[in-house]
Subunit: 361 residues, 2 copies
């Protein structure tokens, strides 16, 4: 167990944005909220999952909703705590720690905010190692753990518990409809996990990895080195393409931000084009019309100068970007993992294509 | 406590349809389901609310959704029991009896179905004495009793508990969205009531009254007497108009069936027209363009020959109808009651106009 220091918050924001793979929402407002709490002297504790007792109960907390709405409506730490308390009331048990479902994007911060107002330690782990758009796209679902109960709370005084769901898809449908009715931003506390479950099925140390990745990008930038190259070393990734955003097709439909973007090559990639399709997160990449990479590989568009991630909601014409791929957690690359988070789960009729084959699993 | 006999089921269907005031959904499928259970030897017990102990816990059960969908998708007694069990699991307490929220229409039968499969007695009471379209339109809401928790269950394996709601309107919005997502038919178990609350704030003996009303209509019909006149005597109502349905404007919008119908007079009313506006239930009546009656008076259109109620979803050109009014429960006619269920609550800019003024409260 260690304390997360103030300076690490900005590194976490940078690292979590990159791991968001274009989605997960911008961490900026979460980070500002947490910095305000830090300014008041609050500190959050980070614990290694191996320090959990088997029968500890861990709250898995997220903010849910549209990334675009999330930029306009403030996320309040108290809302997350309300969802957690609603779950405790339902279970008749208290949580001993809190963790995130997805380390990619703003939700890397949600357990820190909840930890800051409840005093609970944050488990250094998540269930994606990145961001994904749907409820069944995580390592707990891949392991067939129970998906319910799930609590939802808003800034008013509404609290809903989905006590049973017929499937992950039903859980997704029901919670998304409730979230939309609440104004497209709501806090959730997902199915509680025992310490034993977290140790067996979560993806460990992803919060630390996000902080380290952000630290390295910031260090390189301050030293006038190439921050994209630094990110690739820190996350063991590969550069796929360098260019300029030439086109963005984007639609907010059924609670998702769907679309494609085209990058026209510059430098070594002059004359080539790289297309990327997304559903909140980037899912498939084509170089000159041929698929070269798919989810669950993390496809990320980084600002070539700063190394900061560009979210699918922030893409615009003329941005100088580096398209990179980072390796997905091994559990996502198993056949069962591919069924949950591979390209077909995003509606693309192709097998999983990775740029990390030679690294094996 | 007495047993509800097989022959009373058809009388309850007839009486509850009339008290539905055009809404509440047709009881037919509920009745058939219950008759099947009766054919297997099951019997349901009806208890007077005065026999409840103050700390008894009463489950308030309904089927929720669109009346039109309700006619096409079977209501299963087990679904209602699932909603009740979900509430018991949430509360960590068992119910000792079950009751309906609205005696008008199909939901008069819902506690009987749940009672049949759980063995729980049915309290002879409801919270409307009729049918109403929205969650806050009932005597418990008028008495400012807590509105949550509310459980929702479907034919699959989905269960949702709204553990807190910011207002009755929010409870309505959230439960209706969930219901729509579940296919527009779902069973609910509304906020549990203590025996003391039921005795103080429910409308007593409405199930018995519905049975007696139906029995009288059926008796008159069998005796070749005027069944409409018999209904008026049994329910202390008034005949407002006799005629033929000349027009129906009807729209299914936002989960409600809204519209108007025009009746052209025959007999004593020849040359006059009577218009009625509805939102699931009939809400306002105009004779030759002048408002003569509004909710919460029960405005009912009865088939002139059979005395059976005609639901707003079943209105069609050429039907011979008698427009009648039945007196509303006193609690609905208080200023607070009118605020919840008067014409303005249905979007009509008029004060409450009753045809029962001289009867007082």
């Amino acid at each position: 167990m260690r304390q997360i220091e103030q300076d690490e918050l900005e590194s976490l924001a940078t690292g979590a944005s990159i791991l968001g793979s274009g989605g997960g929402g911008a961490p900026y407002i979460f980070q500002i909220n947490l910095q305000n709490l830090y300014a008041d002297g609050v500190r959050v504790k980070l614990m290694d999952p191996s320090d959990l007792a088997d029968d500890d109960l861990v709250a898995v907390v997220t903010m849910m909703g549209s990334p675009l709405v999330g930029q306009e409506r403030l996320a309040d730490a108290e809302i997350g705590a309300k969802a957690l308390r609603a779950m405790e009331d339902f279970l008749g048990r208290r949580f001993s720690a809190v963790m995130t479902m997805e380390v990619g994007g703003g939700n890397a911060f949600q357990p820190l905010l909840v930890g800051a107002v409840t005093g609970l330690p944050v488990v250094d782990a998540d269930a994606m190692g990145r961001a994904f758009p749907e409820a069944q796209m995580n390592s707990f679902a891949i392991a067939d753990l129970p998906m319910s109960p799930l609590s939802i709370a808003d800034i008013r005084d509404n609290e809903i518990v989905v006590t049973r769901a017929a499937s992950w898809k039903w859980l997704e449908r029901l919670s998304r409809k409730v979230c939309a009715e609440l104004g497209s931003v709501a806090a959730t506390c997902k199915a509680p996990r025992t310490g034993a479950e977290v140790k067996a099925y979560a993806i460990p140390n992803t919060t630390s990895q996000a902080i380290a990745l952000g630290q390295e990008v910031r260090r390189a930038r301050a030293a006038h080195e190439d921050p994209v190259a630094a990110a690739l070393v820190a996350a063991k990734g590969k550069l796929l393409f360098r260019g300029k955003v030439a086109d963005v097709q984007r639609q907010a439909t059924e609670g998702f931000l769907r679309g494609t973007t085209r990058v026209e090559g510059i430098g070594d990639d002059r004359g080539a084009v790289f297309d990327v399709a997304f559903q909140n997160e980037f899912a498939v990449g084509w170089r000159d019309g041929k698929i070269v990479v798919t989810t669950p590989d993390l496809i990320c568009l980084l600002d070539t100068e700063s190394g900061e991630a560009i979210g699918t909601e922030s893409l615009r014409y003329g941005q100088r970007v580096s398209v990179v791929a980072l390796p997905a957690s091994p559990v996502l690359r198993t056949p069962k993992g591919i069924a949950h988070v591979g390209p077909r789960a995003f509606g693309h009729d192709t097998d999983y294509i990775t740029v990390f084959e030679e690294q094996g699993q």
